[in-house]
Symmetry: C2
Subunit: 257 residues, 2 copies
């Protein structure tokens, strides 16, 4: 019998979040599991790494019968510690999530969940980030868990090109309400931010970042469109951010006089 | 006479870093300036935003005759506060840096300096991140400052496509030692990490993230190659991370049974 694949699991909502518990459950059917997750919520951490503070790593009993650790750092720190310090090799699969809230469109840039998956891709590991379009801490992750095992099995069965990960977003709803998966491109959108300005009891001002996600991208091939129409969106995601199509144009600029 | 352009300046090394002082000096020749910079070093923060803590914003007298603020958050927070809270409009140019240390190749993903520029691009602002290949706090920023004004003037004179920013890295050395600029693609590389494990005075283990930047990309069109050969590297950088070339292949996978 073939050896079971080793699956590294992390997230950005922290080890006690409901989403990662579902992901552990879904992955247990597929392989051997190692969990390295932040010890506190790390949403919005993007591709941050911890270099100004030391990192702490602790054994965790969060999941019965599963080797698990918490880390004081970011999701990307968790991936690096998992690979270079705990198992000292590349796992067969890296999964991150299931995030509480969407990471579709440009949210991929702000997302700790997706940055862990992108870090996996940089390391040459087949990697997937999963997010459910429901922010509530007791969200129903059953359908998301179903798709997580489905897509993880597919990535292990097929050869995903090295340096690519998948950004998977799952609409809210029961499994039978969802229309299945759709391969998409990253939608173009931005946060129209506003700051909620308040005054603390000592007279000092402070701000909370809020905002509306705003888009003029009318394409029907985007992850935003798919999610709006009841599909699970899958965006193959890579980390070359070069605007290749502009290289010839920029070579016409006069930059050296 | 034409109105002077409004230039928003930020960085990730914090408002007291030598690199941002040089950037202010270089931009003063070109336009009106607003500085919104972190109140402490934020290296390695990637595209992180602050959502679990409130943000503080304070007036700063760091630069004589220049409107400046410090912010308790990340470089991306600084950009958002600058645009949505302080000037309540988009500046004509956003510049970030000059970073103490390289942000070439895949470092663009971990870099707070570049994330501020990418955030500018998402907001539709012509944006540039500058980095000098010298980590020392008293590095010589003169040549870097020269190229910063050169490239900022060029971006204002030419129309850089919306949604694109420039990742500019400058080798260490005197101006006359540098060979000029080179338009490049992002080199492919990764950090071969290692963790320096230590024990605190109370018996607890902690880790420092260290590592070697490692690459097998032999292309002579990369930023790494240009920098190794004495050129200032300029990579046009965008934020669509879709692996477009894989969409047709992924559509062949069986994901819905």
């Amino acid at each position: 019998m073939a050896k079971k694949p080793l699956i590294l699991i992390t997230n950005d909502d922290g080890i006690t979040a409901k989403g990662i518990a579902q992901l552990v459950k879904s992955m247990q059917k597929i392989g051997d599991i190692l969990v390295v997750a932040p010890d506190k919520p790390q949403s919005g951490m993007g591709h941050a790494i911890t270099i100004h503070h030391p990192l702490r790593l602790s054994k965790s009993n969060q999941f019965e019968g599963v080797e698990a650790y918490t880390c004081s750092g970011t999701p990307v720190d968790c991936v690096k510690l998992g690979i270079y310090e705990i198992i000292k090799r590349r796992p067969d699969l890296l999964v991150s999530g299931i995030n509480h809230g969407s990471n579709a469109a440009t949210n991929v840039l702000y997302s700790g969940t997706m940055s862990a998956a992108v870090e996996g891709a940089i390391e040459g590991i087949p990697s997937i980030g999963f997010s459910l379009l429901d922010h509530s801490s007791d969200a129903d992750f059953e359908a998301a868990g179903h798709f997580a095992s489905q897509i993880a099995s597919a990535i292990l069965a097929n050869n995903l090109q090295k340096g690519v990960c998948l950004n998977v977003n799952i609409p809210k709803g029961k499994l039978e309400e969802l229309k299945g998966t759709k391969i998409c491109r990253q939608g173009r959108a931005f946060w129209e931010d506003s700051f909620d300005k308040r005054t603390d009891p000592f007279g000092g001002d402070y701000y909370w970042l809020t905002g509306n996600f705003s888009s003029t991208d009318k394409g029907e091939d985007t992850d935003m469109w798919a999610l709006d129409h009841g599909y699970v969106s899958i965006v193959p995601t890579q980390f070359d951010m070069t605007a290749h199509h502009l290289i010839s144009q920029l070579n016409e600029w006069d930059l050296n006089n």
